[in-house]
Symmetry: C2
Amino acid sequence: LHRQAVVEAESRQQQLTKPVGALGDLERLAIRLAGMQGKPCPQAERVAIAVFAADHGVAAEGVSAYPQAVTAQMIANFANGGAAISVAARALDARLRVYNLGTVTELAPLPGVESCVIAPQSGNLACEPAMTPAQLARAMAVGRQAVIQASADQPLDLFIGGEMGIGNTTSATALAAALLEQPAVTLAGPGTGLDSAGILHKVAVIERALALHQPRVEQPLELLRCLGGFEIAALCGAYLHCGQQGVPVLVDGFICTVAAMIACRLQPQLSDWLIFSHCSAEPGYAQLLDNLPSWPLLDLGLRLGEGSGAAVAVPLIRMACTLHAQMATFDEAAVSGATA
Amino acid sequence: LHRQAVVEAESRQQQLTKPVGALGDLERLAIRLAGMQGKPCPQAERVAIAVFAADHGVAAEGVSAYPQAVTAQMIANFANGGAAISVAARALDARLRVYNLGTVTELAPLPGVESCVIAPQSGNLACEPAMTPAQLARAMAVGRQAVIQASADQPLDLFIGGEMGIGNTTSATALAAALLEQPAVTLAGPGTGLDSAGILHKVAVIERALALHQPRVEQPLELLRCLGGFEIAALCGAYLHCGQQGVPVLVDGFICTVAAMIACRLQPQLSDWLIFSHCSAEPGYAQLLDNLPSWPLLDLGLRLGEGSGAAVAVPLIRMACTLHAQMATFDEAAVSGATA
């Protein structure tokens, strides 16, 4: 982080024609982003969105309200511009790339979709590790490569990762349970729409996985390998590379936040580069909150994934930057300061 | 409200390629706005912002951290494009008009500022009614006229009212205390930046006003006349006209919400037309929350006024409309629905 830019941005906020602090989180956002970007007036115009998609072996346990074919179908929907993240990316003029890390239904080449297939699906984490060490490394490399590719298009003001994968809240919840050392029942939720019996079944599946792998929080990479999925590993790899390259990250909801927490275990300084976009409606998110380095911007009951909640927060960050850059100072506007 | 548009918008939300409800408040927003605008795919492109500014006699009691001259100085800042609401209006491509209802420092004509001066300031509500009946009527008419003027420019998707007036959180807090029948001490806050001694003094001033006027919640207009201010009355008039004309209103923070609550006492059906934009950081807002017909969209610790918090929420509403209109349906995208 650039200390001097933070100092200059803070000083600028003190001089703008408003009571100090009156723009609340928008002031803090502009100042944080100034530190990340190394300039007193940061911006959030050049945004890249990478959506990582993959199927999960654990879907065989019946842990999702949707059939597994939906992962591939949604990749096509991303490509055709009909998914929430496609619509949001257009509205934001953000570059969207989709990374297919492996689906049970094979996909023909699609525009805007990079084929990085590792396997048709990850291993069923209730019975075996989700990934081999080689698969984990490949998945993380896809994430890293996505950031490199996005940065090659244009210097990035903000990176957004998204995910799609039927069964992936089961994987993320297992990871969260291991990371927070909490029982699965305090974290598991409906995902795309399980009823309460479905949630109890999901809890049992996660408990089997935790009992099988005995994950240790001190071994985040091993934890990710056993309980994760290709797209969650790719998100980890992408976030780690953003931290190394100094690219600000806007983190989406439950699954992305779990990926970010694992990445922070691997590289604690990464947390300086993370902006949390929204509180997911997935119940487990409430348990994550206390462990986040900063508070999410929005709380709109979103639980879609794809990076959609992060995309929704982009206009807010742009507004924070625009206000910070364009408001007049007390001197410029000849407005009197506080008398107290 | 247009019931048929609501039904069609709800039905559309059920068909979009996402789990039902996964876009949370954004879904509800699009559906509500469909009902207000009478079309299944609403929009929030054409936004008008009217900022009402006026000085308050109660400023003589020393209830603000800023000198009274700041009201007029800020009107000039609005006109010159340096204030938060000026910057936000530009960023949103929204039409901003400022209505000067009277300032202690006289103002020369300014571009974008309508001179509607009623008096240099309202009466000091701690000693006398803030307005005469004639002044109250004139101030409310300015608000009504502002909506007519904005609607004449273009058909409005959304109306935003804002306010500026040194001392006006004292007035709004007195109104809130009377409306909620709560003691001033549970509602009063720092406004633009009082310290705790300043807040206690403000409480005492408000208590004097309440003891003097003995406001009755069944007489909202009389309450507004005794404890309000020109700009708060103008907001009431504007909101009432929006309700009558079927123009959706995006309500700003503490002061605007108090004005909206008074307007709803006068015309209960108005509440159907109100979208609350954000939870103000002014402590009294927490007391208003339980009395609002719907929950505010944002909670960013904003406490600037001017309509700025409402402006910050506009991109979110636009995103809700864009997602609602442009996402593919399950049929269009050939995506499988839920199996459960």
